[in-house]
């Protein structure tokens, strides 16, 4: 076992640090809408042009062809230099790209992968429906083959970023006679296709993170199917792993920084007697717990990329997402709670503006990308081999 970098890893990290130190945008990210998306795309383009996009993607698709270990090193350096997150490109980079690499056709890869790495395509998922949340196999959105097209009618919901996206991954029912997850197909759809309507949904933090998407006779060319007709469940399940494991690595590293910030908050804020909050042993114990869990999660992420590199897979992938989601909630809640009464507005102080919205947003962590309950089902059944209910 070894944490010390190999000469190659060291060189990679040094180059990354050197580049990031000069290229991380100094201007703040716009808070919403198209300006925000433009910011994210520009930052991605900057990385792409310098060869830092797609660290672990194969070279033939425009990536750097390295392993998850280098990807992790890149995330560590990004956190160190406070680089912007993928933002609206999260699904494109974290999910759609890997899906196409794993299951796409050559044409699909050529059409999309480099474009994704360049930041030219914003993607959204399209899995959940009003009646199919945790139970994806119950989805009803229908796709009917009509010549060389699939004609789609129905609706998807809780689609993060749909209102800002160019493309969408779409799981639809193409064989209504087949039971549940049989008879589903996985397609990709250009969101400018006629018949697509996107209605933003406001979340509990007062912002629009996701939308409901309606499909009214939307014609998708059959060449946009990923996998064959009826292979949709297999494609979706294979690829949910990306979301639950690798896609979370970057956020894990960023969480460590946030824990530091909460510790700093406790050192700078004072209680009613003018003492820093950090002098309370109740606060200190709580922060120590967060720090310990943060380090443990970091260690688990390192163990995960190590195992993947050495053996090709790791069941720790299914654990990183729920552990991250719940720790992140605790960290953000702690930040908000340390504010005391200052936490009752979202703009009364700079600290409130930072920590209160983050706390509210964190309620989505244990719901999106599979609820905490579904993640536990996955671990119980697929990792531990416990029987289904």
């Amino acid at each position: 076992m070894r944490l010390r970098p190999t000469p190659e890893e060291r060189q990679f990290a040094d180059l990354a640090a050197e580049w990031l130190s000069r290229n991380v945008p100094r201007e703040p990210r716009p808070p919403a809408g198209e300006p925000m998306a433009a910011f994210d795309r520009a930052w991605q383009r900057l990385q792409y042009d310098a060869g830092w996009a797609g660290v672990a993607w194969p070279k033939e698709y425009g990536g750097a062809g390295l392993s998850l270990v280098e990807q992790m090193i890149w995330f560590e350096q990004c956190a160190r230099f406070d680089a912007p997150e993928p933002g609206v490109l999260n699904i494109a980079l974290g999910h759609a790209g890997p899906v196409l690499i794993a299951e796409g056709t050559d044409t699909q890869r050529q059409d999309h992968l480099a474009a994704i790495l360049r930041g030219d395509q914003v993607w959204a998922q399209g899995f959940s429906e009003p009646e199919a949340g945790s139970d994806l196999a119950a989805l009803r959105t229908r796709g009917v083959v009509d010549g060389d097209h699939l004609v789609v009618d129905g609706t998807k919901i809780w689609t993060t970023g749909a209102h800002l996206s160019d493309w969408q991954e779409l799981l639809v029912r193409t064989d209504p006679a087949a039971a549940r997850h049989r008879g589903l197909s996985f397609a990709i759809v250009d969101l400018t296709t006629p018949g697509v309507e996107v209605r933003p949904i406001t979340a509990m933090d007062g912002k629009v993170h996701f939308a409901q998407v309606f499909y009214d006779g939307v014609r998708i060319p059959l060449r946009n199917l990923v996998g064959g007709l009826g292979d949709g469940w297999k494609v979706a399940m294979t690829t949910l792993g990306f979301e639950r494991g690798t896609m979370t690595l970057g956020t894990v590293i960023r969480l460590l920084k946030l824990i530091d910030d909460v510790k700093e908050l406790a050192r700078t804020r004072v209680d009613c007697r003018g003492q820093p909050l950090s002098t309370s042993d109740e606060v200190a114990a709580r922060l120590a717990d967060l720090e310990a869990e943060g380090v443990a999660l970091h260690a688990l992420a390192v163990a995960f990329v190590s195992e993947v590199k050495r053996t090709g897979s790791s069941s720790a992938g299914s654990m990183i997402r729920p552990l991250y989601a719940e720790l992140s909630q605790r960290v953000k809640r702690t930040g908000a709670e340390l504010l005391g009464r200052d936490g009752l507005t979202t703009d009364g102080t700079d600290e409130a503006a930072r920590f209160v919205p983050a706390y509210l947003h964190s309620f989505g962590h244990t719901i999106g990308t599979g609820t905490a309950e579904v993640q536990r089902n996955v671990i119980a059944h697929r990792v531990l081999g416990l029987p289904r209910g």
């Binding site: 949340g133 139970d135 007062g206 209680d271 936490g343 009364g348 509210l360 309620f363 309950e373 209910g389």
Partner: protein, 312 residues
């Protein structure tokens, strides 16, 4: 020994619920119409002479609906005015509203102050309650409140005029009453979050059955129900103890305040999770309950003061 609600209390709750569950628009009118502000005020001060236990049952309904309108601040302001002998002010406030702030000098954050006639200033350190006149000119900045059903303002208190003030035992009594009513509102939220969860768990189907058939949901609902029942009981217990001057009243109030705070925060978080993405939307009531619970938790008798009373 009888913590079963009286017929009058149950009628009071039914009447209040008819208003609060109907929608927020007319609540303030109804509140004055049903005499909410005067319910606990002694009859000789123009009130209805209800007990704190009566008020607690009413405030549970107010909490459960997370409606707008500064009922606790205004009813407390009325009492401060009465206690300070300012019966003219009592009368004026029958038609008015009070904002409130937990500070007495300088530039402070107040709540529901924009449309208020007076501001209730609470000084927990020294144990005093003060009423000052409120004008728009005092508002330095409108802030964005966490709880969308209140308003938040940065207010300049340098004007200095004081309409009424209570200190000492009288202030202490008002602070204890307010803490019980905060607990009552939190208990109401705890119950409301439980009801929302149980109703949704019984209806929403996934995997071919209602989600309430899965222990991940049903056991969480059971936990919520236990917290809710205990929250109601401990609030009644504290309120009656205050009404009867029980020697343990202070400790019981702190217990009610702490139990309901924990319960309300746990249950509102849990109900968001039970509702899944729906519970994360602005449109659903879950977040309003959570935010109201957070708002109340920071109110009268906050955590450090509870700890002190409970470990004394």
């Amino acid at each position: 020994m009888d913590l079963y609600p009286t017929d009058e209390q149950r009628e009071l709750v039914t009447a209040a619920r008819a208003v609060t569950r109907a929608g927020a628009a007319d609540v303030w009118t109804a509140a004055t119409g049903q005499g909410w502000l005067a319910l606990g005020l002694p009859e000789d001060a123009g009130g209805l002479g209800g007990s704190l236990a009566d008020e607690a049952r009413l405030y549970a309904e107010i909490g459960a609906s997370a409606v707008a309108g500064p009922v606790l601040a205004t009813s407390t302001a009325v009492r401060v005015a009465a206690s300070a002998g300012r019966l003219d002010l009592v009368e004026r406030l029958a038609e008015g509203r009070a904002g409130h702030a937990f500070a007495t000098t300088g530039s402070v954050v107040a709540f529901d102050a924009r449309d208020a006639d007076v501001l209730l200033l609470v000084d927990e350190e020294s144990g005093s309650l003060r009423l000052v006149p409120m004008t728009d000119a005092m508002v330095v900045a409108d802030l964005t409140p966490l709880d969308p059903a209140v308003t938040a303002e940065r207010v300049d208190l340098s004007g200095g005029e004081v309409l009424a003030e209570v200190t000492g035992a009288a202030a202490e009594h008002e602070l204890v009453r307010a803490a019980v009513l905060v607990a009552a509102m939190l208990a109401g939220i705890t119950n409301a979050a439980t009801d929302l969860s149980v109703a949704y768990a019984g209806l929403r189907e996934q995997f071919g059955k209602p989600i309430g058939a899965f222990q991940a949901i049903s056991h969480r609902c059971a936990d919520m129900a236990m917290r809710a029942r205990a929250a109601t009981a401990v609030t009644d217990f504290a309120a009656v103890s205050v009404d009867e001057h029980h020697p343990d009243a202070r400790r019981r109030v702190a217990a009610a305040r702490r139990h309901t705070e924990t319960a309300a925060l746990e249950n509102t978080r849990a109900t968001i999770q039970v509702h899944g993405a729906t519970g994360f939307t602005w449109e659903h009531d879950a977040h309003r309950l959570l935010k109201r619970a957070t708002f109340l938790a920071a109110g009268f008798l906050p955590r450090t003061a509870q700890t002190e009373a409970l470990t004394a």
